[in-house]
Amino acid sequence: MCNAKRSVLVLALVAFVVGLAFAGGAEAPPDEVELTVWGVRDEYLLDLDEWYEENPDIRIEYEVVPWERHLEQLLLTAGTARAPDIASLDLPWVAILADLGHLLALDDYVAQIPQDDRDDITPAMWDFPRYEGDLYAFPFTTFGRALFYRADWFEEAGLSHPPETWEDVVIAAQELQDPANDIWGLSVRGRTDDGTTQGWLPIFYAMGGEFVDEIPQIDSEAGVQALELYRALTWDYEIMSPDTVSFGSGEARGLFIAGQAVMSIIGSHIAPAVVEGGTEYGDFKLAHIPRLDRDDPVVNMPTTFQWAILSNSEHPDEAMKFIQYLSRTEGQFEYSKGYMEAVRASVYDMPEYHEAKPWASFMLEDQAVSSPLPRVPQYAQMSDIIQDALQEMLGNPDANASEVAAETQRRIDELFD
């Protein structure tokens, strides 16, 4: 082969490799805007026919970045060209991302929305995605942890009222469970992930747990009681499986769906899956997070998901328009009828919503007594520390709740020093 041919071949190879390295996706035509939208699950992609009829020049590129890795991916891409324009955010992520300047404040946009439309959204939901006074995300959906219980089994056993206190839970569980046949009194999530923290914080809160500047006061009477509760339910009362320490969402809900748990503290969005699993609503029911005493107030600390605009989006106006499209009554209904709960009153006014979700009124009631999860930038680390504490209580029959609470508080406080 002559030198010239060799040089051309080498140059062509270099060009090919460099071309591959720098190749990008096809860009939108100049008169078309493209919005990249990240959802945590497939369910977040709604029907876009109407959107494209009204906005043929705004193309939507939807991508599922699973909840488990969503925050990590947002942090890694924020500020780069790979960041999305819009992302669905779990509530604790709002403070983390807002604190870093990755989110656009939406107050000015929301101020332009007609008052009656704003009022349609549950007032508390407007308060949740705020950080240091500014609104950083648009309310979209929520789900509260609830005590799912087998109402049909309760009735058969002559237990007349739904479980309201932890004493009720223990009595009913001991009456109805059959551990020898792997039917447990109660299932909760216990594995090391944030879902476990989000499942325990409402219990802590319902026991009178306090938050000072949004920091949970674990080293307190309520904190010790809430930690001790997990240990005692597992090792003393034996109404939770000793395997709870390894239960993720799948096992906690799976046991209830499979009829292997009398009660379960899981997200309300699991209710459609329970029905799908063959147990009609009525045979199972939802109750509020149990309290220590019947006179204690009913409270909850739900998870909410909201839409946020990343601060480096080149199309914030279009992004806000799309968020409003997703969050309109029809969008909320489409999303919520089979998954998490709507946050618009107009959806709860729809008979077909109640038909799809007979527990909708219960959830609306629950929203009214809800407070947000801690909105602090150190949430992820704080959640990890709480998980360590819960692992100790669930995994060690001899764990000392007071000592664990003190150590947990020390580590949490260190984060905020």
Binding site: L75, L100, R191, S246, G248, G395
Partner: protein
Amino acid sequence: MTARGKELRFAYGLISPTFVVIMLLLGFPLVYAFVQSFQHVTVYDPAGEFIGLGNYREAFSDPHFIDSITRSFVFVASSLVGAVIIGLTIAVLLNRTIPARRALRALVLLPFIVSEVSVGVIWQWMLAPQLGIINWILRYLSIPTVRWLSEPNWAMFSIIFANTWRLTPFAVLILLSGLQSIDRNYYEAAYIDGGSHWQVFRLVTLPLIKPMMLVTVVYLSFASFNQFATIFSLTGGGPGRGTEVMALNMYRTAFQHFNWGYGSSLAVILFLINVLLSVTYSKVFERKD
């Protein structure tokens, strides 16, 4: 320039683009992580501040990290021994003339093409205490069930088992290629000299597949030390921190606590252990020659 020189220049010309791309894709992150390991860099302070050996000092004074090193060695050694012994046994069997040999060879490779996350999810469902099929079978046979994922020792066994299950096919693949390359005349000569099956295997087969054994051991060791996805999806590092190996500790530090400088120092330590081990393996295998 001589013809040989021209030939070499052309060869280097051909590989240089790939070399440059590899250096950019692999070398740059490595150097970057190394530099970052001497800085205090977090998501809140991405600019970073030089702190010398601060991250390394923190690592070696953190009992969780020290424990994770011990767990990593237990995890790697057990996976390695399991995968090599089982892999070699299967390779020897598949090297014989048995019915459906081709189909079996293809079947044996299946676990290796399953993604690491899927391996974790598959075994999580099989080993799930109440809902998993393995405990269901034990119950059916009236054998006491096992707390596969919630008791620390069993959880460690479970992650080793899942990892071994995934990596064994690689051992089979490489060792089988070694077995197939052995000249049959060696075996004939050995048997004529009165060697037993075991003696022939130990004195003829094993020495001749030593290079493949080295490749297998080095790869399996790397793959197991860096294993994160299967463990993360199978146990999440729990119960407690009972299955938190170095790679998982590094992931948590870097991507859950967003402490990138400290996470980088853990990555560098992990990298150095891998390098040291591969050098050790080479020496051990050379020495026996």
